[in-house]
Structures are given as structure tokens and as C-alpha cells.
Amino acid sequence: MATTTARPAALDGSEDGRGLLTRDDRARLYRYMLLMRATEERALTLYRQGKVPGSYYDGHGQEAVSVGSAYALGPRDRACVLHRDLGAHLIRGVRPGRVLAQMMGRATGITGGRDGNMHFGDRHLGCVGMVSMLPDMALVACGLGLAFQIRREPRVAMTWFGEGSTANGVWHEAMNVAGIRRLPVVFVLENNQFAYSTPNDHEFAVDPVERAAGYGFPGIKVDGNDVEAVFSAAAAACERARTGGGPTLIECDTMRMHGHGAHDDMRYVPPELLEHWAARDPVEAYEARLAAAGIDTAAIQADVRAELERDTEWALQQPMPDPPTATDGVFAEVAEPLGDGEAPWSRWSPDREATHA
């Protein structure tokens, strides 16, 4: 019946927002985390093979953050996805093959070779690609929320940023504006303990989640390695935003398990810290939990592996862009706004009553 869609029976009987997830949702959360990790591992291999030009950055160890948060988005919601958040792109519907093509600078990558790394967003799927300057996209997300607010639409803009980025002035301007106008924006703060080599104590004197109160909206801190905890906070924040309650800042405590980029040997990270977090790997922990609940995680793994093989093959066959096109498209001829994204959470399923029967 319809009400179970909003609050389906909880897998683990918990009473909080986790109860919003069906068994299928959980399998999907696991799948996306796995797909993010597998895609990034493949991209790293391609980088080491010299097939990815420039530098290489990933979100290894932070899969629960982008997957858990982006999973709460509806199709007409919008996202400004950051450099540790491949999971969010995958959830919006970007195929892993296109990500690999993007990384390799191929013509069919999301930016067609114009930009690299995680500097992309599929505009057809409601995503605005990030710029390097951090955290500039926080203001763009405010603008998306502003459009929803002006048009009285129950929609949400979500964006992500690292804890280091909160030191930049644009972060403050975004928080302040979101607070003043009560914009429907969800800010996901990924505290992965470092900004490049810079540890928390050089970035701020007080945990930035504490600052949300100073902007007039809630700041919530969750275990960033628990995908359901992240989801639960994000789902509540989206609901709040959608119903006129304004923005939320969600800090996800996590760890960047790889170097800042592939070139970075992380000398500056104490080994004990890495060990501590390695024992809390978000993908492994969730796998164990789902397996214990009788979900066939091996099948999902096999499926992800197969998808990635297919997609890698496809990506490797993609052509490089044509040099004479390098100067095309500096200016637009028409303005076509963002399209809608995929939204795998069962809540957004058009036939959700059936799904949750």
C-alpha cells in the first residue's frame, strides 16, 4: 500500500530515516558504491597505463558519502558534483564507460575532451560540472535553489565540498545566502581529514559543521562511512528543503584513503590513521551487513564487474576529439537548460506502489 512507500519496513528495524529504504534500495546503494569503486580502480589502472592524461583523483574510501547522499535526490532535483563524488554521477545515470572516456580525454567522454578528471557533469542528467576553484559550485547550487524557489517548485539542489574548501570565501557567501533566503539546497561537507596535505587543524579552529547555526540552518554530523546514515540525513534534508524548510549542512566524517591525486604518496598521513579507517571501509562494511541480511552481494559484484568490463572496452574504442574542433563552442547558440536525472530510490519509482507491495 501507498504508505509503505514512504516508510517501508526497515531492514534492520531502525526507526530513523533508514526505514525509508527497501531491500532493493539497499542492494542498489551497495551496487553504486561498488560501481564507483570499481570504476575508479579501473580509471587508476588506465592512468598507470598512460591512457589517462594529466592527473588522476579519486574518492576511494568515501563512496558512502556521494552514494548515500545522491540517492536521496529525485529526478527533477539538481546536483553540482565534486571531485570525490563519482557515485553521485553514477546515480544520476552516467554510464561508467563515459566516465572512463572522460578521464581518457575521448570525444565521447562527458565533456568531449574539453575538460578532464572529475570536472564534468552531464547536463542532460541535471548535473552541473564542477570547476576547479573550490568550492565555487556551492554558489551555483544556491542559484539552482533560487530558481526553484522563485518558480515555487518543490525541488532540491545538492552539492558537495571537502572540509578544506570551507576556508574559502565563496563557501561563506553560499552559506549566508542560503540561510537568508532559506534556499532549498543540501550541502554535503566531506571531512576526509585532509585538504591535499593540509590537516584539519590548519584548515579551521572549529569544526565547520558548527558554523551552520551561525547561518540560521541545521548542521548535522554523520558517520560518512555508513551509507545509510548519510542517506538518512540527506533524505531528511531534501525533504526539509523541498517543503520550504531551507538548507541543511551535513558533515560526513570520512577518510581520503588514496593520495590527493595519483602522484601523492601521502607521506604526511600517519599510518595509524590509515589503518584505523581501513578497518572501517564503507563498501566492505555494507557488504557484510547486506550479506548478513541475505542479500546476494556476490551476484551484485559479478554484475558490476561485467558492466565495467563492457564499459571499459567501449571506452577504449572511443576516438580522440578532432583537433579542428578545439575552438568550437566557446559561445552558445541557444540556451537549453538542464535535463532531469535518474533517481533510483524506490520513492521516485513511477510504479512505486507495485515495487513496495
Binding site: R114, H119, D136, L139, E173, L338
Partner: protein, 322 residues
């Protein structure tokens, strides 16, 4: 046709676009109840309400950045910097977020950024700048700088309707000093077309914005010489055909702008001519610009720095005699 000031023409264009297209909205500091530092949006909040006329906090990055977000969601934001000088505070959002978006991702960013610019009224080093050359070194931005009320209206309408980020330089010195006939109702002038402000055969003066008037005045009666004045109107795209055409006709050229000299628009126009109309030149390409100094406050100093009618006369005379 009614006579309007340059300021009224800008205001009219904005009002008419807002009436015609509900996607158009304004944001900036003090543009609502106060009607803007220069009163361009006077009465707007009363007519369009606070959702479409947003009195933002003092935060230029926020103004440009949120405009970008609203634009990619289908709206048509028109940002006001209180003074052009403050674009330095929203610079990164303009040159990195807005300007590069379409090239990188095929996502159009139809925003307009209005910059009340220029000096001549003791605004001092922070209220007198002409920052257009920065934008020319930031591919992906269109840049316009009207000199007449008619152009001001038509170019602002075109800027708002353009699918790209357009930087609109409105010279403060023209606001209330310049009057002219302005067609009623909506119309647009194409971005990228210069205008011959006066035809001539002996020498071309190429200018834009407030300097067009200075050029006309300086060359009105220059010992009987026939001086062409070309008003660029649009700096990106630049009307190279019009520039080269004029030079081919006159063979002598003075480029005039109020902005400082090094790497200014005048440098670009001179380089363009020196590369593409070399054979047609009958004398050095002369620039009359502000020297490379901050714009000083005190009237005698400011006058010494900003190009004056006499400086233009002198430059033209010298070149004519060459």
C-alpha cells in the same frame, strides 16, 4: 521618438525585458527598495516584487555565482555590480564558472552582468575603473559598451536574450549627461556590430563608451579634416570588418579609450590592424588612453589621467600631419 537619457534607456530596456519574459530577474546590492545606487531599477521592486528584484547581501561572488545557477535552470538573471570596480570581487565566478561553462560542457549560461563603469567625477581609484580588458582575456564572455541611449537600450535587450554571459558596461558619466532619441517598445541590436558615428576619409578614430562623445567633439572641426569616428559598441565579438574597413578607407587611425593603456582594448585593436591592414596604413597607429595608473580622485589629477578632448585633438593633428 522620445528623448531619453542613457540611464532611462537602460532602465527601460530592463523593465521591458522583465515585462516580456518572466524568466528575467535582477539581483544586486540595493537594487530593490533603493532602486539601485544609480536608480536604474527605481520602481522595479514595486512592479515586479522581491522575487524578481533581489536586494542581495554585499557579496559579489554570490551575485554572479547564484546567477549562473539560476541561468542553467532556465532563468535569465541580470546582475548589477554597484560599481564596475567590484567585479574584482566576483571575478572568479565570472571568468571561471560562467565564461567556461559552455565550452566545457555545452551548458549555456545566459546571464547579464551590468557594470557601471568609468570615471570623470572624482570617484577615485575604486569607483572609476574600466575593467573591460580583463574580460577580453577571459574567453567565453561577450562584452558590450554602448555610447548612446539608443544603443544602450538595444544592446541591453540583446544581452539579456543572448544565451551567453554578457558583460554590459554602462558608463556612469553618460547616465544623465547623454540624451538621445530612443525607439519605443522592445528592440535588439545585434552584438558584434560596430557603428560609424561619423563618416570620414582622412583619419579614423576608434572608440567606445564615453569616449565616443569625446572623439566626436574633438574631431568635429579639426582644421577641416574629414575624420571618421567608429563606435565599437561590442568588444566581444569585435567587429573586425568594420575596424579594418575604416582603416582601409582612411589609412590613419587613432584608438581612444578611457581604460589604462597596457593590454587594453586599444592594444588589441592596434594589433589587429597592424597584422591585417598593414599595407593600408599611412602612419603609426596611435593610442590615446589613460596611462598605467590608478585613477586619482582629485579633479586636476583625474583630468590629467583621463583622455580629454584636447589630447585627442593633438593626437589627430599630429597623425594628420604625418
Amino acid at each position: 521618438m522620445p528623448e531619453l537619457t542613457y540611464l532611462q534607456a537602460i532602465s527601460d530596456a530592463l523593465r521591458e525585458e522583465m515585462r516580456a519574459d518572466e524568466r528575467v530577474f535582477c539581483l544586486g546590492e540595493d537594487i530593490g527598495r533603493f532602486g539601485g545606487a544609480f536608480k536604474v531599477t527605481d520602481g522595479f521592486i514595486e512592479e515586479f516584487g522581491p522575487d524578481r528584484v533581489w536586494d542581495t547581501p554585499l557579496a559579489e561572488s554570490a551575485i554572479v555565482g547564484t546567477a549562473v545557477g539560476a541561468a542553467v535552470e532556465g532563468l535569465r538573471p541580470v546582475c548589477e555590480m554597484q560599481f564596475a570596480d567590484f567585479i574584482s570581487c566576483g571575478f572568479d565566478q565570472l571568468v571561471n564558472v560562467a565564461a567556461k561553462m559552455h565550452y566545457r560542457q555545452g551548458l549555456a549560461v545566459p546571464i547579464t552582468v551590468r557594470l557601471p563603469s568609468g570615471g570623470g567625477f572624482s570617484g577615485g581609484p575604486f569607483h572609476s575603473q574600466n575593467p573591460e580588458a580583463w574580460m577580453l582575456q577571459a574567453p567565453g564572455l561577450k562584452v558590450v559598451a554602448p555610447s548612446t541611449p539608443r544603443d544602450a537600450k538595444g544592446l541591453l535587450a540583446a544581452a539579456i536574450q543572448d544565451p551567453n554571459p554578457v558583460v554590459y558596461l554602462e558608463h556612469k558619466h553618460l547616465y544623465r549627461r547623454t540624451k538621445g532619441e530612443v525607439p519605443e517598445g522592445r528592440y535588439e541590436l545585434p552584438l558584434g556590430e560596430a557603428r560609424i558615428a561619423r563618416e570620414g576619409t582622412d583619419l579614423s578614430v576608434i572608440a567606445y563608451g564615453a569616449m565616443v562623445g569625446v572623439a566626436l567633439e574633438a574631431t568635429e572641426d579639426l582644421d577641416g579634416a574629414s575624420v571618421e569616428v567608429l563606435d565599437l559598441r561590442s568588444l566581444v565579438p569585435l567587429d573586425t570588418d568594420a575596424i579594418l574597413g575604416s582603416v582601409r578607407k582612411t589609412s590613419k587611425v587613432v584608438i581612444l579609450h578611457e581604460a589604462t593603456r597596457s593590454c587594453g582594448v586599444g592594444a588589441e585593436v592596434a594589433a589587429l590592424i597592424a597584422e591585417n591592414a598593414f599595407e593600408d596604413l599611412d602612419g603609426p597607429i596611435v593610442r590615446v588612453t589613460a596611462p598605467d595608473v590608478p585613477i586619482p580622485f582629485s579633479p586636476p589629477l583625474e583630468r590629467a589621467v583621463l583622455p580629454q578632448v584636447d589630447n585627442v585633438k593633438e593626437a589627430c593633428r599630429e597623425l594628420l600631419a604625418y
